[in-house]
Amino acid sequence: MNNLVEVRNLKIEATTDAGRVVEIIKGVSLDIADGEIVALIGESGSGKTTVALSLMGHARPGCRITGGEINVNGKNMAALSEKERAKLRGTDIAYVPQSAAASFNPASTIMEQVIEVTRIHSLMPPEQARKRAVELFWALSLPDPDGIGARYPHQVSGGQLQRLAAAMALIGDPKLVIFDEPTTALDVTTQIDVLKAFKSVMRADGIAGVYVSHDLAVVAQIADRIIVLKGGEVQETGTTAEILTSAKHPYTRELLAAFEPKQRQAHADAEAATNQLLRIDNITAGYGAVRDDGLPLIRAVDTVSMVVEKGRNLGVIGESGCGKSTLARVIAGIHPAAAGDIVFDGKPLQRAAGKRSRDQLREMQIVFQYADTALNPAKPVEDIIARPLVFYHGLDRQARSKRVDELLDMVRLPKSLRYRYPAELSGGQKQRVNFARALAADPKLIICDEITSALDTVVASAVIELLKELQRELGLSYIFISHDLSVVEAICDEIMVMYNGQRVEQITPDKVKAATHPYSKLLFSSVPKLDPTWLDGLVRDPELVSQYGHR
């Protein structure tokens, strides 16, 4: 056996509520050499995380490894007892979770958790372990490496936690580290730091890695080889360069296609210029106690003004916490502004939704990021879509049913889905239903709050295409809020960059490369490219990074 990891014909079964057994991994085989980083890529449900976890001999509750061999460092994880597996976990194989924020025990200090592996396996005395941890903190370029260990997880930012999770994995000197979508939840500016840190540590120690992700651009920066998974089966394997340049499998090509620049639709500019659909002036909103001047203590949105023209789209971009979602909620009246004016379709709007007229509410719809929480899990799809039809349009049963069919058709969903409950839909389907509900109101403006962020690349780009089509058919306007530049670029006529509650710049997509504001520059330059050399070649102005990078 030459390779560190040799998986042969791995089969994993899951048991459903009904007690039905489903094979979710159908005979996967893969190899990982010493010091090699292999990416597992695929959409959600492809089984990439399940395969990765099986390398530790672990199957999540309800799942069971039923066949095949998982040889890691000469031991078949599938055949070992739970006790023997436990001995290898943390020492031979380590794990960096998808959401470090959730994977740190909130009740314990970071240092305790980082060195826990050494305690469990009695690897070294705690004093030495702490020293080693601090060394790793330095290596992962964490701020305040000596003091950060004493903090609790909630006192540290997401990007830092992700790196701390890596330190937690590396402290046991593992031969193999499994990264489970470790940067998905991070802002692009932060993602770069984390990726860089991972890459340098792994390289320096010659550690092998499995990198699970759905983002080809990210994977391209770190992986030596890529394995494409779909439906529990390996679709294609190849070196990073091979996959990026000469992918053979249609699914891989689809993945790549999602990265190609989209053709933007052209607008009849003359007509648009005069037709303001929404104008907001000097809006300020926030949280906390109201001060003497009537403004809140913490300003999430600070004197922002903007205009949306009829039939055109405005993109709002910025990192998490910049106030872009609050802005969306202010416009929708969910979070009434403390100051400023909103004019919609020529008429001033009340700040609070409760005081707006039913028609005003109907004409402006908002679609949220997480379709999971935006759709009532206790109601079937048809009830969800039909409610605005009853509420705004007073349609009777028959007309309603017909309209629901039409709306499902509009968002390219089969009619048979109307009886399903949200839990029985895929992420993309949920987001389409979410959108269909907004359409049911016959709105003029739809505020889309990060609607593609929770979706896989391929699905997201399909949703964007749908939005464009609908705009052509129905003459809608969108306010598109996202942290993902490629999405905003694809659909918007104007892009507004927000930072720290303020509007820092507004430009058109074609001028992204020529941004003037330093933050915009940093933001735009941080979006990963489908080029394996991009990360290594990236040079960022250290002053910019120190000023705007949240580490």
Binding site: G19, G333, A353
Partner: protein, 283 residues
């Protein structure tokens, strides 16, 4: 984590999966419910009639469960007792849960001072020991079936309120609530159509648990001498009036005790083993 096996093997039927314990518990509850409904048709003796010269008589032909402290037929009294225990508890728990859940949802959705006032007031109510409250109320207005039901209900409203409010507050933070709000929906729609369907399962489980507590409290109150008008008696009252027979295991005290235990244990087991709707997407 190692794989978990369900406590007992489950079977599926009509799109729900069941297990044996849950089914047996449900059958016992069903049986008592039927007894409660049809009690007056199946009792062999009138519950007030003295049919035995002896007291705490043993089980024998004609008096299948023996006789009570006055020489009345225990079988008839236990069967009729089911009606009062089940009926009163069910009525009380229904009122308590309905009001508590409705108030809890309203408080969660409305928020603000209404929420604060309701929570404070009901919290204060909660701090009064339930049995003492029962004693005071019954001392004040006498013990009649409506008074008992209302007292028991009032005692358990704060609990139901707290429970429902906590659940509803969680649901209230969901985006679909926001969507419904900016649609302009009324509070009634929000609580009835958006929140309730999402909390109905835990609320029903809570309903069952509270039912058990009410059965126990009712029997506790009966033990303290409050309860139905004679010769009617719920199971707790039967235990109370015949407790003198306990030292020699008279059926007059053993049977109603077992009846209470069988009902409460069954409800508890049913809650723990509720049939689960199978949410199983094809493919």
């Amino acid at each position: 984590m190692t794989m978990e096996r369900a406590a007992f093997s489950r079977r599926s039927f009509l799109g729900h999966s069941y297990n044996l314990v849950g089914v047996v518990a449900a059958l016992i509850i069903l049986a008592w419910t039927l007894v409660a409904i049809f009690a007056s048709y199946i009792i062999p003796h009138s519950i007030g009639d003295i049919v035995d010269d002896d007291y705490f008589g043993p089980m024998r032909q004609g008096l299948w469960l023996g006789s009570d402290y006055l020489g009345r037929d225990m079988l008839s009294r236990v069967l009729m007792g089911a009606r009062y225990t089940v009926g009163i508890s069910l009525a009380a728990v229904s009122i308590a849960c309905f009001s508590g859940v409705a108030l809890g949802m309203i408080a969660a959705v409305t928020g603000g001072w209404l929420d604060t006032c309701l929570s404070r007031f009901l919290d204060a109510m909660n701090s009064i020991p339930s049995k003492l409250f029962g004693l005071v109320v019954v001392a004040a207005v006498g013990s009649s079936i409506p008074a008992l039901i209302l007292t028991l209900a009032v005692i358990y409203i704060p609990g139901a309120y707290r429970f429902a409010r906590a659940l509803a507050v969680n649901i209230n933070t969901m985006d679909f609530m926001t969507v419904a709000r900016v649609r302009g929906e009324s509070t009634a729609y929000l609580i009835g159509s958006e929140i309730l369907p999402n909390i109905i399962r835990p609320v029903l489980a809570d309903f069952g648990l509270r039912f058990v507590f009410i059965v126990l409290l009712l029997s506790g109150l009966s033990f303290l001498g409050l309860g139905l008008q004679p010769p009617l008696a719920d199971w707790g009252a039967l235990v109370r009036e015949n407790i003198g027979g306990l030292p020699f295991a008279a059926p007059a005290v053993v049977v109603p005790s077992l009846a209470i235990a069988s009902l409460t244990i069954s409800v508890n087991l049913l809650i723990d083993n509720l049939p689960q709707k199978i949410r199983d997407r094809d493919a």
